[in-house]
Symmetry: C2
Subunit: 277 residues, 2 copies
């Protein structure tokens, strides 16, 4: 999916919601455990109930890997299901990968060929040759970690480069721009740092930003929109637990749908205020 | 496996060789493609031929993931095989993971519970809470990326912190020491930067270092040993392609054994010179 198509979906659904599929076998409703693939069944029902209100889904790889090869099967089935039934959804592998070039090549093969994801989250520590292999696929995306929403973000991302006085996350934003374009790169920017979004928008005015940390982690959607929106929206705001675990009973899908609908309504107001539809 | 046991294995085998299982379906000998699980069969034969000369094995996750859930199955079978037949081998998941705390918890579950690895490589960008969940398991290890062997290492790892004038990889070494101990942390230090090893040893005198980049990537084993060895050896030197692809014909396992034996001989000399057995 390219940038214009993604913006088209945002306008059509009046939503820039990304639903995080942090599907935990220990948390999903107990009645699903009797099915042959509880993780897939949970995802399928969540997607069916929320697809009307969401433009993107973001399975978090750790949850699937914690179940080994069976978990990977559930993930593959989820991606296949979305591709068959909802071809216009944007699928993000939240995998935080990154390794030397020939290895990143294989991660790209895993997520873009073996599975048909649109985007992969990538950690920047190993630099250009660890990131670029993900950008050799037409209409596929790297989503590079810039500023994360966790406490440990302060350990290295806030250090200042002696030469430029840029913080490291700013160096990541600036340096990486020569690696790709707003057509194949996005950035992860935690919503708990909404006040930083304004500065970040000055560095990367045109790129989409994937914003986790709204809801359970405490970020405000209004603040994010105010500081981060651009002329093509430029935001995918992720919510995981607030939506997929809105209820832990048999009505989990219905409640997830309601929670997603509520977020979509807020987003519709924000998009309208910005004159984007 | 704890530090003393690892050093014991190094003394017993007179080797600090780690064999990288970068097992690529496109490269392994063609006659294996007729078996039901070529990746596992290749790994099994390589391990049988080289276990006498190696203390550690390091499957690179990207190679397995590029084959999807089937690849994960081959990996699980490989780990299981080693645990059954060679319980004294040290197993490293070269996965370069790292995410917010509750997600890193699940990656730890994947590699330490679902599969019985001894260690996982972790990227430091997200800081303390992304790393610590891997250190809550007795005798399991984090191997934190410090200085990598690729060209892109220069993009961010070499930037200097304005406050301390430390390069970022030095900040990673210094800051992370309060997160764990030489009993549950190692560091990745690329061998192509052997001259840096001396400086790094001053910062982390007691930690084991995992050193990739010897052989195919151009590093010298003698230089690494001269600059990096400590009183418990403190080194695991990885070789992947130089060993596992020593031959691409039916004699691949035999040739891999010969290549590993050759490296082990070099290592024996270096360990002897250092008075370590």
């Amino acid at each position: 999916m390219n940038q214009q198509q993604l913006f088209g979906q945002i306008q059509k659904k009046r939503s820039f919601l990304c639903v995080g599929l942090d599907t935990d076998i220990l948390i999903i409703p107990k009645h699903l455990l009797d099915t042959s693939d509880p993780i897939f069944v949970f995802n399928k029902e969540i997607i069916d109930a929320t697809a009307e209100y969401s433009v993107a889904y973001k399975p978090n790889l750790a949850f699937y890997e914690s179940l080994g090869s069976k978990g990977w099967e559930s993930l593959e089935k989820t991606v296949h299901y979305v591709r068959e039934k909802y071809p216009d959804l944007f699928l993000i592998a939240d995998a935080k990968r990154g390794d030397i070039g020939n290895t990143s090549n294989l991660y790209a093969r895993a997520f873009f060929e073996k599975m048909d994801f649109d985007a992969v989250t990538v950690a920047p520590y190993m630099g250009e040759d660890s990131v670029k292999p993900f950008m050799t696929y037409l209409d596929k995306w790297v989503i590079l970690l810039a500023l994360t929403s966790n406490k440990g973000a302060a350990d290295f991302q806030y250090l200042k480069d002696e030469k430029t006085s840029d913080q490291i996350f700013e160096s990541v934003l600036k340096t990486s721009q020569s690696w790709g374009t707003p057509e194949n790169m996005m950035y992860v920017v935690g919503a708990t740092k909404a006040e930083k979004l304004k500065e970040i928008r000055q560095i990367v005015p045109d790129h989409f930003l994937l914003v986790p940390g709204v809801g359970a982690q405490g970020g405000s959607l209004q603040e994010v929109a105010k500081n981060g929106m651009n002329s093509k929206c430029g935001l995918l705001v992720n919510s995981s637990r607030g939506i997929i675990y809105a209820s832990k009973d048999e009505d989990f899908a219905e409640k997830a749908g309601e929670a997603a609908k509520e977020v979509q309504h807020e987003m519709e107001v924000l998009l309208k205020e910005a004159g984007l539809f």
